[in-house]
Symmetry: C2
Subunit: 237 residues, 2 copies
DNA sequence: GCTCGTTCTTGTCACTATGACTATATAAGG
DNA sequence: CCTTATATAGTCATAGTGACAAGAACGAGC
């Protein structure tokens, strides 16, 4: 007992078990009718050739969010101004990495779909992948579970928050915003009711006064994101 | 870049920064009109004599939840059958522990209020503390932030889930369940409307057929927890 | 130029959930 | 017996909801 208490206070650097700490990012975007995640191809063993979430070691003087933010900018070129980044959960099963004990702090990023496939420097090995096409065991390590947690978090978040707008561009139509919900939730929503609820929730969106140019149908008014962060009342799936 | 890619794959144990990984537990209980958290007195520097969240190092072959579960049983004597335990977030500011780099995976536990102050072996230094009496900077390290996150999570959880019953005993009255909500949310709820909504949400509670013996007023029917885990529709704060 | 199909947008309507409130039941205590 | 406290049932106006209808404004094709 006394021995354990000393270990908890841990003045002796050799007395605590050695861990590696990494961040793994679930970077999601919505390109209707697909939800896409940014993945990288592993070049080395284990899981060489398999898809994996982008990630890396946390630096000795780096906070957790700095490590995640760095990786996000590295892969997407996006800063926190235009993307949403939140901590998801930590994964640390002893056998999750066969080489050593690794704790991964996973993060969820929501970004608007870029025109170029992948921005950034070491982009050759990275790609946006439809989550629907991913097989159950196609990802390296326990990244299946991390991705699943990220998708579920995103689906829940857009119920109670205005974060769905981060999947849209600066200016968007109601149809585009609705498509984000329909794509993430996997089913259609009534356009009229969706319109009413979004506009009734103050500060969700603001009208720009413009109309969108599109291919079919009546031109839609465009909106930009409003100041509100929470949705009262919440939208229902 | 190439150098960093090698570090990410990390075959060399000396190539990644040394981290210590701990778990800290926010163990909450509700004893109306107080929300209480289980805290321990620190005996050693830094923060000697200050309150801290119970926690400890994650063992080399221990999963994160095993470490949290061990600590919960150690401090409360409760297993996962009668308590709720969920991962909260990870905290890893480089300066959060002045001695070394420590990543703490924080967990939230919800337990029914025990009769004895603190169960378990090394209970002499532990106590249930009213969160209202805690000053802003009274806790060691960044445990203020962790506790705040735990309380906020608990307040949110009972909106959408049936977890409020884990703060009650096996058999409880509507008034006791309502007191949990009122204590955590900090304001009164209409008894009649609360009754209606809880009973309308299928599987939240089940009638026992008994009535409670109490001091004042009409005797209340007692209930036990039902099979449902989510609340549709959600209760509103 | 006209019709058709598509999408956006406004409006209607029945139904449900809600908060506020009233009323009654059943206990304890003076 | 009367007051106080709590539990429980019921009422009612209002707000939010889903389902649906209808009109507006475009492009495509004949």
């Amino acid at each position: 007992m006394v021995k354990r208490a000393q270990r908890i206070d841990g003045y002796d650097p050799a007395s605590f078990p050695p861990f590696a700490v990494t961040t793994d990012l679930v970077i999601l975007t919505v390109r209707p009718p697909q939800v896409q995640v940014l993945l990288v191809r592993r070049e080395q063993q284990p899981f060489a050739g398999a898809w994996a979430l982008p990630g890396g070691f946390v630096g000795p003087d780096q906070s957790l969010i700095e490590a995640a933010q760095f990786k996000l900018e590295d892969k997407t070129g996006l800063s926190l101004d235009s993307a949403h980044l939140e901590q998801l959960a930590s994964f640390g099963e002893p056998a999750r990495d066969p080489r050593m004990r690794v704790i991964s702090v996973a993060w969820l990023a929501m970004v608007a779909h870029p025109d170029e496939p992948v921005a950034g420097s070491d982009a050759a090995d990275a790609a946006w992948v439809d989550i629907a096409t991913l097989a159950d065991d196609e990802l390296a390590f326990d990244h299946d579970a991390i991705l699943g947690a990220g998708i579920e978090r995103a689906r829940n978040r857009i119920e109670y928050t205005t974060l769905a707008v981060t999947f849209c561009g600066d200016e968007f139509t109601m149809g585009e915003l609705r498509a984000v919900y329909e794509t993430l939730w996997g089913h259609a929503l009534d356009p009229a009711n969706f319109n009413r609820k979004v506009l009734a929730s103050g500060g969700f969106v603001e009208p720009t006064g413009n109309v969108a140019s599109q291919t079919k149908g009546r031109p839609a008014k465009t909106y930009r994101r409003g100041p509100a962060e929470t949705l009262v009342p919440a939208l229902q799936r």
